[in-house]
């Protein structure tokens, strides 16, 4: 009971943090828009969203692991691995596109179960367990596919899946305009996962486990089952992110890539108010945190700040977010 009160208390404090994060989103957007005319262009908004979709999906999944007191480092390389295998099934084995997409998600679920098993049943530290599956997924895609894989191009009959995230509408002169319909699945995912986190037994028990695992166990919570469910959710969203990645960002998936994306996703979740020590977090906060990182990635080059500044500023933002988390934990303690 005390745990539930604690998390409720923290979530009220969190509202303030989310307002701050939302304000940062607004300020960043304003700064980039003022200093770069190109940033205000519609095509820039669409490109920003293209790189936001998959990033957001993997971060939603990781949020559940972080709230449960764990972590999932396999989501970045995993996302690429699952997309490679799904694409391989479509282009090399000739399965229909929808089946390749299901394979992509299924691969994510399999690794989600594996991560959950390693952490909750075998009691391996989440950091180590998912570091191992990160290495496995980093190599597995290459072993299975033997090299880079191209998902079907938009112009091919099998390229319909790209319309899930971006519709190309031609005007009378034949010029095509992209419509970023990917915001719909993102919003649906945020709403559904927010409800699951806050209004269902699964979400509440994941929060309870993250707040105090032993107390949750003594209260009768099936810790193994619900801790594992956090990793299955993360795996599922890594699979979905794989589809978003090939739909909106690139057709060509290269094995071994994706390393480092998990840190961005975890960073986004932390900026959005999810605690590194577990028990606290929100899906909407993660959405805002990822939006900040995506704004920085897209906006800094537009105002002439090169790669070094992008790394420095992103690092500074993360230090700030983690420091807030540390302060919150001190107060909680």
């Amino acid at each position: 009971m005390q745990n539930m009160k604690l998390s409720g208390n923290s979530s009220r404090k969190f509202d303030l943090q989310r307002i701050v994060v939302l304000a940062v989103v607004v300020v960043l957007t304003a700064i980039f828009s003022i200093f770069s005319r190109d940033f205000r262009k519609f095509s820039t908004v669409v490109t920003l969203l293209d790189s936001f979709y998959y990033f957001c999906f993997i971060a939603i999944g990781v949020t559940f692991c972080l709230i449960s007191g764990g972590n999932d480092l396999s989501v970045g390389t995993g996302m690429v691995c699952y997309a490679l295998i799904g694409g391989y099934c479509i282009t090399k084995l000739g399965v229909p596109t929808w089946a390749g997409m299901l394979v992509t998600i299924a691969c994510g679920l399999v690794f989600g179960v594996l991560n959950g098993f390693l952490v909750s049943v075998m009691n391996l530290p989440a950091f180590i367990a998912t570091l191992c599956t990160m290495l496995i997924t980093r190599g597995l895609g290459s072993v299975v596919c033997g090299g880079a894989v191209n998902w079907p191009a938009r112009s091919s009959p099998d390229g319909w899946f790209r319309n899930i995230f971006k519709l190309m509408v031609a005007n009378s002169s034949g010029k095509k305009t992209p419509i970023p319909v990917g915001v719909i699945p993102i919003l649906l995912a945020v709403i559904i996962m927010s409800i699951i986190l806050n209004k269902t037994r699964v979400g509440r028990y994941i929060i309870a486990i993250g707040s105090n695992k032993e107390a949750a166990r003594l209260s009768g919570v099936n810790v193994i089952k619900f801790q594992m469910s956090a990793y299955i959710i993360s795996g599922f969203f890594a699979g979905v992110a794989g589809i978003a990645y090939v739909c909106a960002t690139t057709s060509s998936i290269t094995p071994g890539s994706g390393a480092g994306l998990e840190l961005d996703a975890i960073g986004g979740a932390i900026i959005g108010g999810t605690s590194m020590t577990g028990g606290v977090g929100s899906v909407f906060g993660t959405l805002l945190g990822i939006l900040i990182l995506t704004l920085l990635k897209n906006g800094l080059p537009k105002i002439g700040l090169g790669q070094d500044w992008q790394n420095i500023i992103t690092g500074l933002v993360l230090i700030f977010a983690i420091y807030i988390d540390v302060l919150k934990n001190r107060k909680k303690g």
């Binding site: 033997g146 112009s155 990635k297």
Partner: protein
Amino acid sequence: MKKALAIVLALMLILSVSVAAFAEDLHFEIVSKGFQHQYWQAVLKGSEEKAAELGVTINFVGPANESAYDEQLSQLNSAIAAKPAAIGLAALSTETCLDAIATAQAAGIPIIGFDSGVPGAPEGAIWANAATNNYNAGALAAEKMYEALSARIAAAEGAVRIGVSAQDNVSDSVVSRGLGFIDKFAELCAADGFTVKLEGDAAYVNGANVTSDDNGKVIIETLVPAQVTSELSLIDCNTLMSKDDTIAIYGSNQHSAEAIISANENLQVLGTGENDILGAGFDSGAVIKAAVADGTLFGAITQAPVAMGAALVQLCYDAATGVEVSDVDTGCQWYTAENMDDPEIAQNLYD
């Protein structure tokens, strides 16, 4: 006479059997830059075919990505430990590999460079290179682009911008292709009386053999992503292609060329029309080939990866069997929608 002939035949037989037996024992370790791009699969294919032809064995490895210097170093150390007859090496970073190269030298193992080779390696460490002259390849792209753009530059009232999307500012091959492009484009501009201003990544601005003029008529801007990821290069290309004064963009490898094509999906600005942005790529792959074929990209440079793989194994074989070796330029070609089906070019275009 018959006896002499029989002796000669017997000697030839013994010689051929012993050469074959020797050749079968030859094993080469090849350390590439990884398998991220189909390009490397084509190099592997050429290597395997030549190895089969020569009757030797090869172990072709590469790191997970082209930023994994330590992983490649570990693979190079494993290759040396395997005591091969020769090593093929496409170094991601020569500095990282220096100690390992010295170890191979001390062990008497010949090292053959390929792709970008091992630039800056100690004198005598690299016996020969099987490589594209990347600087010249970049220059070839600049020549073709300038040919198509010179009238537009002359007619423009203000400054015009040429974008360069580079995967990184570390890899010698990528940097050479970028600098080759920048230097040649600036040289052609100067010949026609146009001044040039360089902008963007410092490695390219400072590395180019160009005197930058702040009031340049032609601005050449090079962007490099913070990490080698598709979405960051896509953002760079979007940044370059969104600018009102941009008239052309060049991507110096498969990764960057694909990012240009992805960025165009939202912008719809590439083409060969009067107001379009002229796009040029490097290497092939299904996405780039399709873009060249349908006119989205004006053209691209292709190397000869299969020939490069074959030349590499031949050089390893020659070095291991005591034949004198020297550098082999495996060449490059400019391909467009018009000539990409020519057999001479089509053989170097891979999916």
